[in-house]
């Protein structure tokens, strides 16, 4: 760790001629003002609009053979660069300058507002079913800021963004104390230490942001919403509140999701798509959020299948998990898959760097090395217990998305 609070992690991997520099800022859509949603993501775009000493971020990087991108989630904002390792210093130069200060150009704000509005349209409004999560989140979260998506509640919030807000947001969240940097690939730890001190050491620590978000109370009533839209097929969503990423129950929940929905041998696909022929597709997945998360089901029933039948079929699978222990073979199967996925994922440098950053944020990068063990330790009884705890009617939010039929 540097004196100014920046956490730095090195992951040496000499099988590649490339290096990765990944910076995670501990700020996401959950940290936004409810009247200014979508701001963390808009801000991510503005991080490419030039910094205090470097007018253009992308060009100098491309000139040394590098590429970059970034993403914003409800929890974090993550920026990454990959480049030939011989040119790693360019990455330090660029990233440290925009942590030091942005150029805050008005033109950049104006253009990126438009770009983000087009992104809003392209991903959420101009796609069939694109707005589902804009509707589902506020059903599951009544208090917690997870009730809005990273793109924001509405286009107006993005249109209203002012340069003063941008500056304040930067001061509050973009400083060494709120960041984790991972440097990986064909690099040496000593070299990274030196470069980190040189480029990031002089940046003032800034103020530590203390997160104090309203936590979501437990849900004790069934929630339902039906909407009609110009889509070709009906769609059923059932969302349950579940534990946070750091809860012990997270690993059990992920195995449940795998049992239900991972691959062609999973229960939902086999029973509901293939055997009973009720859905054209049906999936289960989790948001994996830092605070209380969502365990969601989504299925498109076949045209001759009623919504009631479709919903009942999903519940039947959940009831089975609640009543019967998962057979040993089936549990071994999903655990084997987790184990081999971990081995295969070692081959992807950038993913590894991102994972290290996010585990460091959660407490300790070394946790990543103990993940497989935690999945292997889960028992059939724990799965049954968790299924009973999660899959209750009064913990569910059901969104029925009906196809508007031409009259």
């Amino acid at each position: 760790m540097l004196d100014n609070g920046l956490r730095v992690i090195v992951h040496e991997d000499n099988t590649t001629p490339m290096a990765v520099l990944n910076i995670l800022y501990d700020v996401g859509a959950r940290d936004e003002n409810p009247e200014q949603t979508g701001f963390a993501h808009l801000f991510e775009h503005l991080m490419f609009g030039g910094s205090v000493n470097i007018p253009d971020y992308d060009q100098p990087l491309q000139r040394v053979g590098g590429e970059n991108n970034a993403f914003t989630s409800n929890d974090i904002t993550n920026y990454y660069i990959t480049l030939p390792s011989a040119n790693i210093e360019t990455a330090f130069w660029l990233e440290s300058d925009r942590m030091l200060s942005l150029a805050f150009s008005k033109k950049s704000l104006e253009v990126q507002r438009n770009v983000v509005i087009e992104e809003f349209k392209q991903r959420y409004l101009n796609q069939p079913y694109g707005d589902v999560w804009l509707k589902l989140r506020p059903m599951v979260y009544k208090k917690h800021p997870y009730q809005w998506a990273t793109i924001g509640k509405e286009i107006k919030h993005i249109e209203d963004a002012k340069i003063e807000d941008v500056k304040a947001f930067f001061r509050k969240h973009y400083n060494p104390q709120n960041a984790v940097m991972v440097v990986g690939g064909d690099v040496k730890t000593e070299e990274v230490k030196q470069l980190a001190e040189k480029w990031f050491g002089p940046i003032p620590a800034g103020e530590k942001y203390h997160r104090n978000l309203p936590q979501e109370p437990e849900q004790h009533e069934e929630r339902r919403l039906t909407v009609t839209a110009k889509v070709p097929l009906n769609d059923v969503y059932i969302a349950f509140q579940m534990g946070a990423r750091l809860d012990e129950s997270y690993y059990t929940a992920e195995l449940i999701s795998d049992i239900l929905s991972r691959g062609n041998s999973s229960r939902l696909y086999r029973n509901l798509v293939k055997e009973k022929q009720l859905f054209s597709e049906v999936h289960a997945y989790m948001t994996g959020s830092m605070d209380k998360g969502i365990f969601a089901f989504e299925g498109k029933p076949l045209e001759n299948i009623s919504i009631e039948t479709a919903e009942a079929a999903i519940w039947e699978e959940l009831d089975r998990l609640k009543a019967d222990l998962v057979p040993a073979d089936e549990l071994t199967k999903v655990q084997n898959k987790i184990e081999s996925t971990m081995i295969f994922s070692e081959m992807a440098l950038l993913d590894k760097a991102m994972n290290l950053a996010s585990f460091e944020l959660m407490g300790d990068a070394d946790m990543l090395n103990h993940e497989t063990g935690k999945y292997l330790a889960v028992t059939a009884q724990q799965i049954k217990d968790l299924a009973n705890q999660l899959f209750r009617r009064d913990n569910s939010s059901t969104l029925i998305y009906l196809a508007e039929k031409a009259v």
Binding site: I54, P84, N87, K121, Y129, S340, M347
Partner: protein, 426 residues
């Protein structure tokens, strides 16, 4: 010493790019096997790649359906049993249909190969396409298609391909009714003709020990022979349309999808590497002219890019984007301007050197692991090229002149002759 934050650190140009070359072996049954050995982790990826059969416009979905349904049952295993076996051993099984080839891919830990390989063997020799599975397949595909047809960019791609290639393997997209042409008998005979060792190339990447190779050949050499069925992998000629402009109106559209382009060349043509440099300047990276102008300056779109497709019998250069429906015409005007600039103004030295470095970095960065080296080989092998191609590519990227690029722009980027497809509002 004060830190020079305004000046970029020194950087080094990329000199050498080392590509791993495979060892080759021809099996007695006629199947070619290429191996990329890397001792790092105890895992392998094995691909079985088959050339598609000649396209039949009366039965256009056969290549795709036969490939996709390989996991749906054999003489001895049901779809469920196949999935169980693969998943139990933590392996991954994929089938992928492409315009020129269909393939089966297995990712497996070495220690489980003895259990996973027999499943693949069964798929490529004994698939039966059960009637019930076929019905499920058709219904689910039809539902997915209904959803996709609501997506403007999807519709634009269909219309564009059909304009460029006509009703051929590359140009014909299924309608809901097209699925009615699928029959189990046709699929069975298609399968027997196409999935034979002599029509197969195997590519193995990962940890390959003598025992690994022995295991593979024990299943896929002497025990796997041709079916004796005739196979025809020639293709009918492509039929570009006379009409060059297509507008599909969607009155409620918030954005319009634009796709435009022109038949060009594929990888085997000597101009290809230089044209890739030109394409990169135009729309092939984040700092490209199309992005700089239409996204970063005008804010008309979330993204715009250009690309080159290289198929066995065709190549094309194209531009694709989704823009606010109120600025569709304006965006098209800007695209035309950018194309004309490439034809009339030399690319400045600074921009060109940036693109050179970017492309070399991008090639280096695309070689992340042993699988990527195998993927590079596939690009060459199926275009009938050898490793000299990458030497030429690197050399072209480093040295191609602005004059030559302007000539290529005049030769290949004629906006008036572009096929133009708009879905949304115009």
């Amino acid at each position: 010493m004060t830190l020079q934050r305004k000046t970029a650190p020194e950087f080094r140009a990329i000199e050498n790019i080392n590509l791993v070359r495979p060892s080759r072996q021809k099996l007695d049954n006629g199947c070619d096997v290429y191996c990329f050995n890397s001792g790092d982790a105890e895992l392998v990826r094995i691909e079985w790649i088959f050339q598609n059969q000649r396209f039949n416009p009366e039965k256009p979905l056969l290549n795709m359906a036969v490939n996709t349904m390989l996991t749906d049952g054999t003489e001895s295993l049901t779809a469920a049993q196949i999935a169980d076996k693969i998943d139990f051993y933590g392996a991954f099984l994929q089938v992928d249909y492409g315009y020129d080839h269909s393939q089966v891919t297995l990712f497996s830990l070495n220690k489980h190969l003895a259990s996973t390989l027999p499943v693949i063997k069964d798929l490529v020799t004994n698939s039966v396409f059960p009637q019930k599975e076929l019905e499920t397949f058709i219904r689910n595909q039809q539902q997915k298609l209904q959803v996709n047809l609501q997506k403007n960019d999807y519709v634009a791609r269909r219309v564009f391909n059909n304009a460029l290639y006509g009703n051929t393997l590359y140009g014909l997209s299924a309608d809901i009714d097209t699925y009615k042409t699928l029959h189990r008998d046709d699929m069975l005979s298609h399968f027997r003709q196409m999935y034979q060792p002599a029509n197969c190339t195997m590519i193995i990447a990962g940890k390959i020990e003598p025992a690994t190779l022995q295991l593979v050949t024990s299943f896929f050499d002497k025990d796997w022979s041709d079916t004796g069925q005739q196979i025809d992998t020639t293709q009918p000629p492509l039929m570009p349309a006379a009409e060059h402009f297509y507008f599909t109106e969607k009155p409620d559209a918030l954005q319009s999808a634009i796709r435009m382009g022109i038949p060009a060349i594929n990888r085997s043509h000597p101009d290809f590497p230089a044209l890739q440099v030109l394409n990169t300047v135009l729309g092939g990276y984040f700092g490209s002219r199309l992005m700089a102008n239409i996204r970063e300056d005008k804010g008309y779109t979330y993204g715009i890019g250009s690309g080159m497709s290289s198929l066995k019998h065709a190549g094309a250069i194209f531009i694709a984007t989704e823009v606010g429906s109120d600025v569709c015409k304006a965006a098209i005007n800007e695209i035309e301007k950018e194309l004309n600039r490439l034809k009339t103004e030399l690319i400045a030295g600074d921009e060109l050197s940036l693109v050179r470095n970017f492309l070399l970095g991008s090639l280096l960065g695309s070689l992340e692991n042993v699988f990527s080296h195998a993927d590079k080989f596939k690009n060459l092998y199926f275009a009938g090229l050898d490793y000299d191609y990458y030497d030429r590519y690197v050399d072209t990227v480093k040295t191609v002149s602005a004059d030559r690029l302007m000539m290529l722009a005049n030769q290949y980027l004629n906006f008036d002759r572009f096929y133009k497809v708009i879905v949304g509002k115009y």
